[in-house]
């Protein structure tokens, strides 16, 4: 007996099913593994539509920490990488996972911290000096701790400053394991120093009592590279379309587009594909 209640249940189930629908689209797209700091800076929202409009190729960005992005590349789950860790990138290519590293652009890192600046680093010219002061003052420092490009830069600076942060972890040195935005949130909440990329900092909306304290040291330059994932290893890589994106990025047009991205009226990324040593 098909009672009314059964009919209603059936109708509900059918609506549910109609909602389900198919899950994949047939459009033309490439998948790139990039970093959270790049995404948080807003660069992609600005840059990708320009490329898509020109070529009709959609660019899908999976934004994670640099370590995870490299891993995604090693698994063959992305068509190309868009990261900022030269050593990691070169190893990626050397190990056969990538075809060629193309230098792309740079932005810079800055040291931010509480306005009150207990370690007195404001205006320091050298980042390493600032780090030494922070360690000496045992001032709170929030580290991304996620093996990202930013994190690797930070650890290099500590090493150069001669500070053993592993020993200090849990005390003044807070090892978070988070993206740039989350780390800034934590630093703001606990009035801690941290190393951030300028672009994310400019866009960050929850600064509270944090302020920009140290900038301009050449050591703080953050170089980006793009790499095509090796189709010899992963036949499913969309070589033509991904290469088209890379070619566009390093072309004068692409480089100009990158230079055109501004945050608060200030240029955020500096294209340097043609500069030696990039």
């Amino acid at each position: 007996m098909v009672t009314l209640s059964r009919r209603i249940f059936l109708a509900a189930a059918l609506i549910l099913t109609a909602f389900a629908g198919t899950a994949w689209a047939g459009d033309r797209f490439i998948t790139i593994a990039s970093t959270t700091s790049t995404q948080d800076s807003g660069l992609f929202e600005y840059l990708l539509p320009i490329f898509t409009k020109k070529t009709g190729i959609e660019v899908r960005v999976v934004a994670v920490g640099t370590g995870q992005a490299l891993k995604i590349g090693q698994q063959g789950d992305a068509d190309m990488l868009f990261v900022h860790d030269r050593a990691g990138e070169e190893k990626f290519v050397a190990d056969g996972y990538g075809v060629k590293r193309e230098p792309l652009m740079y932005n810079d890192f800055i040291i931010v911290g509480p306005e009150s600046d207990p370690a007195q680093i404001k205006g320091d010219a050298k980042a390493v000096d600032a780090f030494q002061k922070i360690a000496a003052a045992k001032a709170s420092f929030a580290s991304r701790g996620d093996d990202s490009g930013t994190n690797r830069m930070e650890l290099r600076l500590w090493k150069q400053a001669g500070v053993d942060v592993k020993a200090a972890s849990g005390g003044w040195y807070k090892n978070l394991g988070q993206g740039m935005g989350a780390t800034l949130n934590t630093a703001a909440a606990m009035d801690a120093y941290t190393l951030a990329d300028r672009a994310t900092w400019s866009k960050f909306a929850n600064k509270q009592h944090l302020a920009l304290l140290v900038e301009g040291d050449k050591k703080l330059f953050n170089q980006y590279g793009v790499i095509l994932v090796n189709p010899a290893k992963f036949p499913k890589v969309k070589v033509a379309d991904a290469q088209a994106f890379i070619d566009w990025l390093i072309s004068p047009e692409g480089q100009a587009a990158i230079a055109g991205y501004k945050i608060g009226g200030v240029q955020a990324f500096f294209p340097d594909h043609d500069q030696p040593g990039a």
């Binding site: 209640s5 389900a20 899950a23 998948t31 899908r60 999976v62 789950d77 866009k203 509270q208 499913k236």
Partner: protein, 246 residues
């Protein structure tokens, strides 16, 4: 949906809450296209996952309740424990399975809504199955003698008991939906939070939080709660309607 880069001094709690309600209202009233996109995707992913999880979990739970087999008690304990599986762990496992380097890589499902649906199915099925198992067990102990007298053994009883317990089972399905729509760890890993493709309510909230736009994140959270209210409300309306005409 971007935010201004202001911020000198901490925002008092109430101000953030006010801003959150304001942005939620604004987004909803203006029928912001970006919002509608992620709302529809969230509903699609979670509802599909719950539907599939029900198709698996309801008969599974009923069978576990009705049939005797060696290791039955262990299976019941295992099922209950799986309810507490951390979603991010499920995400990791599904990622490794779907990865191009993984056993199911040939399907190319990673970083798509399908991958998110699969992950959520894995998360939700134990909930539905475990709750169904308990309910059917209780119903069977109540009905068993009469059903056996009428010639209805465990096998034929599955459909009957599931239908009879439909109101309690609906609650189990809503519990599953709640878990699915609130989940962020697994869908982040297997979906990649790709703009316009796999960005859902929860991953959007995570993103806005990491950008520091707490008011917007909270506003999205409010909308998510409203969504959940809507789904639960609809379920109860259905229940009432059918309650009067069994």
């Amino acid at each position: 949906m971007s935010a201004a880069a202001t911020g000198s001094g901490a925002q008092p709690f109430m101000q953030t809450i006010q801003d959150a309600f304001a942005s939620a209202l604004h987004l909803m009233i203006s029928l912001n296209a970006g919002l509608i996109e992620i709302v529809l995707l969230s509903l699609r992913v979670s509802l599909t996952a719950v539907l599939c999880a029900a198709l698996i979990g309801l008969p599974l739970g009923a069978a576990l309740a009705l049939f005797q087999f060696p290791g039955r008690r262990f299976a019941a304990i295992l099922l209950s424990s799986l309810m507490g599986m951390p979603p991010v762990v499920v995400g990791l496992i599904v990622y490794l399975l779907l990865s191009r380097s993984g056993p199911l890589g040939v399907f190319g499902l990673l970083f798509s809504p399908t991958a998110m649906i699969l992950a959520q199915i894995v998360i939700v099925t134990p909930i539905i199955a475990a709750l169904t198992r308990q309910l059917v067990e209780d119903l069977w102990s109540e009905y068993r003698e009469q059903l056996q007298s009428l010639g209805c053994g465990p096998r034929r009883a599955i459909a009957t008991l599931l239908w009879d317990g439909r109101f309690s089972l609906m609650t189990a399905l809503l519990a599953g939906f709640g878990r699915a729509s609130a989940e962020v760890g697994a869908v982040m890993i297997v979906g990649g939070n790709i703009d316009h493709v796999t960005r859902m309510m929860t991953t959007a909230i995570a993103l806005e939080t990491s950008k520091g736009d707490l008011a917007l994140a909270l506003g999205l959270g409010i909308i998510l709660i409203v969504l959940s209210l809507g789904v639960n409300g609809a379920a109860f309306v259905i229940r009432d309607l059918t309650g009067r005409h069994p």
